[in-house]
Symmetry: C2
Amino acid sequence: MAVTIKDIAKKTGKSITTVSRALHGYNDVSPETREMVERVAKEMGYTPNLLAQRLQKQRTDTIGFILPTFGPRFSDPFFSEFLAGIGSSATKYGYDILVSTQPPGEKELEVYRKKVTGRQVDGFVLVRTRCQDPRINFLRESGVPFVAFGRTEGELDYPFVDEDGADGMFQLTKHLLERGHRRIAYITPPMALMFARDRWQGVKRALDEAGVSLPDAYLVTGELTQRSGREAARRLLSLPTPPTAIIAGNDLMALGAMSAIQERGLVVGEDIAVAGFDDIPMSEASHPPLTTVHQPIYEIGQMLTEMLIKIIRNQPLESQQILLRPQLIIRQSCGE
Amino acid sequence: MAVTIKDIAKKTGKSITTVSRALHGYNDVSPETREMVERVAKEMGYTPNLLAQRLQKQRTDTIGFILPTFGPRFSDPFFSEFLAGIGSSATKYGYDILVSTQPPGEKELEVYRKKVTGRQVDGFVLVRTRCQDPRINFLRESGVPFVAFGRTEGELDYPFVDEDGADGMFQLTKHLLERGHRRIAYITPPMALMFARDRWQGVKRALDEAGVSLPDAYLVTGELTQRSGREAARRLLSLPTPPTAIIAGNDLMALGAMSAIQERGLVVGEDIAVAGFDDIPMSEASHPPLTTVHQPIYEIGQMLTEMLIKIIRNQPLESQQILLRPQLIIRQSCGE
DNA sequence: ATTGACAGCCAAAACGTTTTGGACTATAAT
DNA sequence: ATTATAGTCCAAAACGTTTTGGCTGTCAAT
């Protein structure tokens, strides 16, 4: 069926060794032979069998990326942008991306292990790090190259890119405090996620410094989706003394919160302020446009991939831990 | 480094043949041997080298999916949901997904070709079909298994799943007509995309049947993003006689259009109606919630993947072409 | 005439599996 | 005592590459 190096050897009358070497620019084949081999290869439509190549070379030129899907309707714009970033760098360096979907939990590590020992990938891009992240321990111990988007608690001896969520939320919360808000509520992602804890630290610090307290009822947990943001906001709005400002741990939940406010007939930005984190494209187009903290997802995907490839290739890394300074994006959802 | 079948053979004192057969449930190995092999394999942490396995078996258990990325900020919630659907079925049947990013154009087919002849994938899931789609011609001719989300012009002799966009838009447009709208504008995706043409047919037919004409200036093209939807809507609103209703070819553009309307101080659903297509999660949470046509992206991803796997395995397909009947979702963006 | 250097070529091993086509032993049937 | 049968086992080939460690012939220098 598919044409192999053997077919070319037969056609050209050379050995398969010579064909292989001719195609790879070795200098122990004569120019005429090389030219002939190349011509025949092209004529016959030869493409190397990557499986065989990889088996022999003991590397896969493939990067693993495991999507932490929760439930069926999984539609986080975050991931398509991130994946596009990974893809752009991967393509640039001739790598493929092997994607699996696997919810966090029991079988998770097994998937990672299988991909590694099964020689399917050369390394991993991790995403959504948890405070105690078994994946990181596992990969660190087994010596598999990996990079992470996000940090963990404990020792940070692995390569990562992260945005300083504490600083971002600090800026954002301060912005709200400066605008006079004192009853500020926070919708947090599950605290097991490292960035959730991080962002919460930022909120907390800003409030503490201003001497503002946040009652227990003002701290609610959402699942990162619009739907859960809306439900969380509904609860907040039903409190005896509802907040005058709601900060959400990500934009999707902030947008959900906006819709909960609007369904009550209140005006976001006037009656109540809303802010998010991520600056997904949607946030610019919402009504009112959402005040948020920018995160360059696409670029982070690119950076991580390039770092990973360097690690795989044993090339030096100029900086193996990158903490990005967040940028506050002020729009109208917290008032004019 | 990694433990191979050979190591197990050495340890157990059996041949590699026997080890292989023991691990695969052949009945020509004694129960004791089988048990011993299995125990040792587990002890040593054996995982088969998938590269070797695949090279030998001449199949890859991998599905190819090539993301048609346009430009750097590529953040379409559509794709993460679709990918999650593919992933769920792929995992179920033990397949992996190989993802590449590649904009439509010159080098596109080369990527497909390389993945096939390089034995990286057993088949493809195609997405965003174009009216004249070179990918389909190529795959059809080379006999590679594939399934497509969407149809093309010309002969439809390949397996696909699609939602009847013409019917969906027909229903939607009729809904607007029934509500008294006569000045209806349409923001279309690029007409080279099959679903764009399809949906436009539906709009057109509804208008024709009602004897309503759509002036040239009311038909504008967007690039499927919020940003382009907003820009298109701005143009429409600046017309001497602006439309009273705007239909967008997808939800993202509809949401962009809503923001253009709101930035003019107009009220969506009262001053002007807006409708979209897709029913992405965002549409439910927008303000006002968007009237749209539902598309079960996740399920479509699943269906396509299962179809593809059946084709790869030469199993019969109960129906190889599926056209889904769309469901109109009426919310508030076209009035109460 | 020998030696050395070099250009051009190739057989065979290796990567880790699965499968083919037996071989061997013990027991049962003739 | 021979022949079948069944139960275990295995050597070798195959999948398509790359790499190792040669070999052969030519030419120039000694």
